[in-house]
Symmetry: C2
Subunit: 326 residues, 2 copies
């Protein structure tokens, strides 16, 4: 069983590689955590191999074909804000390179399992909800449009029997590093870091703003579960939203204050920006029954979300818990 | 007002160019009906200009940019059967060239109206129906997957204010020329030609098989109406199925016998092929209320379908009827 992780040096990729390492799967011949990037790769997680370039380039694709993975986690992407600003970059990475990866993987004799990190950005913003499997998909950003197009293409490769694809729609994942990430949702992570550190925080949405939350460890665990999904194919579904905790900013602040002290409450200054509030402050109820039935899950509680989001070492619950394909 | 038609030499393109000509719009400086094709273009409809190559090539794209159309009908495509057999060809024409066209059109100051010929192939086959705007889209062929991906991309260009896109999902259009078309649904047209000519016909689906029907004149008329749609944008919808006549083969044969003589009934030999019956014999009810409310329409009756499908000159009703953008 050979495993390939694209975007292994990214925020979610690092957590995924670490879970693979803890399960004794990285650093061996069998697992290659591939950090594909055009730019500086930074420090790589233990066991990951850096591969400069992008998946649209022939040498990189040849490396992928040569490695011949049985299981692929495709995480490499340009985030939403950056892709909206630079259409050409977003197209090249989020659409072209993803399709190029699918095509070069589709040449294997036994179709590899492909877990594709899609996004809740495929849903229209401003839906009053609940969002169900029947909700029409109307991405409000080019990022989401490209993610949706790739979901459709991956489902088609799966129908043809060339890949065994599973698209998982990731919500906003916390707590990202505080450096500029190109994500419009960066304030969600910033809130956690600031209050944990006892710093003041200017929140660009209101206390009542509701969003969908998940920690990076929980997300990585779900990606691994995604690899082991028993996809029936009966209804042709190949894409699911990850189950989420739907929490208001006030609920998240309460959980932070519970953990770090009630003085944290006073550190938040609300300065709602209408544009951000419209996109990130009105998340409706998500009907995630189908995803939960498949074994995917959220962090469990606001308290667990905070604990999972702010620890650098994998929480015990995520290490040996799940029986996986790998 | 400058109008561009891609695929102008194709079956639907010819009917569209003829309707434009009858309305006094083709052959002038203002309208360019562009027949883009890699291969032999054949005889072009009056007023159409042949442009060898495909939209993925720079000289063709430069011609498009140079012409600077205000209204574009994008019909050029590789049909479903052929695209399923030759993935690379389908990808190049139905996905890459379409996106390249959108991108080069998106550079204009005033966003051009783009009427995109999508397909009912975006719907899963085997839906028990009714198919509504909430039905999940699960294309059963790569052709439909690429059409759906392009619908998503066109909606995104529209959201960005770079194009004013309208995707119309075309049903099987009759009566195509009897030459091999690469379409799995070719038998629908063959049935009409054979019975009109008093020839025997071997039908690969049962008499009870129900499909969605539309004549090429009606389709071309709908494309022109599509250009004039008042898209509210309120719900973000940018794609609609054309309204259809849902008829069994027996109903179509009855209408043919009514027009050409009851002896036609005996000319049909039914030899259902399970694979074809599954895809083309079980079309469910289509909830096309939203499309009809926008002014799109079907042929009116089985009798009108047959009359419209088998005439080479535009039926009177389609000529001056609609007040159009152009």
């Amino acid at each position: 069983m050979k495993v390939l992780v694209t975007g292994a040096a990214g925020f979610i990729g690092r957590h995924l590689v670490e879970l693979l390492r803890l399960r004794g799967r990285v650093g061996t011949q069998a697992v290659q955590a591939l950090a594909v990037a055009d730019q500086h790769l930074g420090d790589l997680p233990a066991g990951a191999v850096g591969l400069p370039g992008d998946l649209g380039s022939r040498p990189v694709r040849e490396s992928v074909v040569g490695f011949a993975p049985d299981l692929v986690f495709h995480l490499a992407a340009v985030p939403g804000g950056a892709a909206e600003e630079d259409y050409a970059l977003g197209r090249r990475v989020n659409l072209d390179a993803t399709l190029a990866l699918f095509e070069c993987l589709a040449r294997r004799e036994r179709p590899p399992v492909v877990v594709y990190a899609s996004s809740i950005a495929v849903y229209a913003s401003g839906e009053r909800g609940p969002i169900t499997p029947l909700t029409p998909l109307r991405p409000p950003l080019t990022y989401g449009a490209h993610k949706l197009a790739c979901e459709v293409l991956l489902a088609d490769f799966s129908r043809r029997g060339l890949l065994d694809g599973r698209s998982l729609r990731l919500p906003g994942i916390v707590a990202r590093p505080r450096a500029h990430s190109g994500l419009a949702s960066a304030f969600m992570s910033e809130l956690l870091h600031a209050l944990a550190n006892g710093e003041r925080c200017r929140c660009p949405v209101s206390a009542q703003a509701t969003a969908w939350w998940m920690s990076a460890w929980c997300c990585a665990d779900n990606l691994l579960r995604g690899a082991a999904l028993a996809v029936s194919g009966d209804d042709g579904a190949r894409a699911w939203p990850l189950p989420v905790l739907r929490l208001s900013i006030a609920q998240v602040v309460d959980a932070l204050a519970q953990r770090y002290g009630q003085d944290r409450q006073a550190l938040v200054e609300y300065a709602p920006q209408p544009a951000l509030e419209a996109v990130f402050g009105r998340y409706p109820v998500l009907d995630d029954k189908a995803s939960r039935a498949l074994g995917l899950s959220d962090d469990g509680s606001p308290q667990a979300l905070i604990a999972n989001a702010l620890t650098r070492t994998a929480p015990r619950g995520f290490v040996p818990q799940v029986s996986l394909l790998i």
